[in-house]
């Protein structure tokens, strides 16, 4: 399992980020992303995952993130900025990571070392 810092992902363009995640997950790694993915990046990751599903090897990913938060601060309102604040994301191969329970602030998952 790799824990990826916010800084490492921030250096990447969204498409690089998605490619990096999918490559790591296909190689069998489970990733914990400190800052999480934006909703758009999650959608891109789902899309790319679908293109790579292979009946003989890769059945997809298990991804869990906390619901994102919309910035409703006074500065955001003044500047009329609508910022979605992302939170932690866990992503891994579907056959090695299984979510047991999830709520707004907790994710319980079962990890298995072998496919």
């Amino acid at each position: 399992m790799d824990l990826i810092s916010e800084e490492k992902l921030a250096e990447m363009a969204p498409v690089e980020k998605v490619r990096f995640i999918i490559d790591e997950v296909r190689s069998g790694k489970i990733l914990v992303l400190e800052k999480g993915l934006t909703p758009e990046e999650e959608a891109s990751l789902i899309e790319m995952t679908m293109t790579l599903i292979d009946p003989e090897g890769f059945s997809g990913i298990e991804m869990e993130s906390y619901p994102s938060k919309v910035d409703t601060s006074i500065f955001g309102k003044i500047l009329k900025k609508h910022t979605v604040r992302t939170r932690l994301t866990v992503v891994g191969p579907a056959d090695q990571l299984k979510t047991l329970k999830k709520d707004r602030n907790m994710i319980s998952a079962l990890l298995s070392a072998h496919k």
Binding site: E40, I46, G60, D103
Partner: protein, 211 residues
């Protein structure tokens, strides 16, 4: 005289087309087997007398997005005309073995899995072309599924209206209150698309939310 009348008609139609408000495109989203096509069928039967597609207890029955234009819904004295898009169930994984557990041959299960992956891609792409979403959640399941979180996040990021339909309240184990507690920032209507329970309240909310 005939020429002038014809000119007037053409001119009038041209301006109607020029200034006609585009129907809002509303996508019906949700995880596989949440009841999206059952709801789409209910809406179409109630307002057009038609149906959208077939339903099944096997996941990924809808593998291509279906669009129905110009569905007029009347509620609370308001009338709203929508283009409704019934999308394939979103998922992060598709394993053909799950289809074989329903008695499918391996080749058929693999074909369905392949079509299902294409359907998910299509559903994701539609997110960029919508004016609002009805997110269908299975009220007997955990509301924090990744699909729900991703769809809600995408609508919030795009600042587009979202209406949650907490479906399957005809089942005794359903708990629509759990969905309301999970996503209190969005309007939610508890329904049974299958039995039509509370469907008028959903139409009122659709007219209010997407009108």
């Amino acid at each position: 005289m005939g020429v002038i009348t014809s000119f007037k008609q053409n001119f009038s139609e041209f301006f109607k087309k020029l200034f006609r408000k585009k129907n809002a495109r509303i996508g019906i989203y949700g995880p596989p087997n949440a009841g999206k096509t059952t709801l789409a069928n209910r809406i179409l039967r109630d307002w057009t007398g038609d149906a959208m597609g077939s339903v099944s207890h096997i996941a990924h029955e809808t593998r291509r997005a279906r669009r129905r234009e110009g569905v007029t819904i009347k509620a609370n004295g308001h009338s709203i005309t929508l283009d409704i898009i019934d999308t394939p169930g979103l998922a992060t994984k598709i394993d053909f073995h799950e289809f074989m557990e329903h008695g499918m041959e391996e080749s058929e299960a693999k074909r369905r899995a392949k079509e299902a992956t294409e359907g998910v891609i299509e559903a994701v792409k539609w997110l960029d072309n919508l004016d609002g979403v009805i997110l269908v959640m299975d009220a007997t399941e955990d509301p924090y599924t990744q699909v729900n979180v991703t769809v809600i996040g995408n609508m919030e990021a795009r600042k587009l209206p979202l209406l949650i339909a907490a479906n399957k309240i005809d089942l005794p184990e359903s708990s629509p209150g759990t969905i309301r507690d999970a996503f209190p920032q969005h309007p939610m209507v508890a329904i049974s698309a299958l039995e039509g329970k509370n469907i008028d309240t959903l139409y009122e909310e659709i007219a209010k939310r997407f009108g």
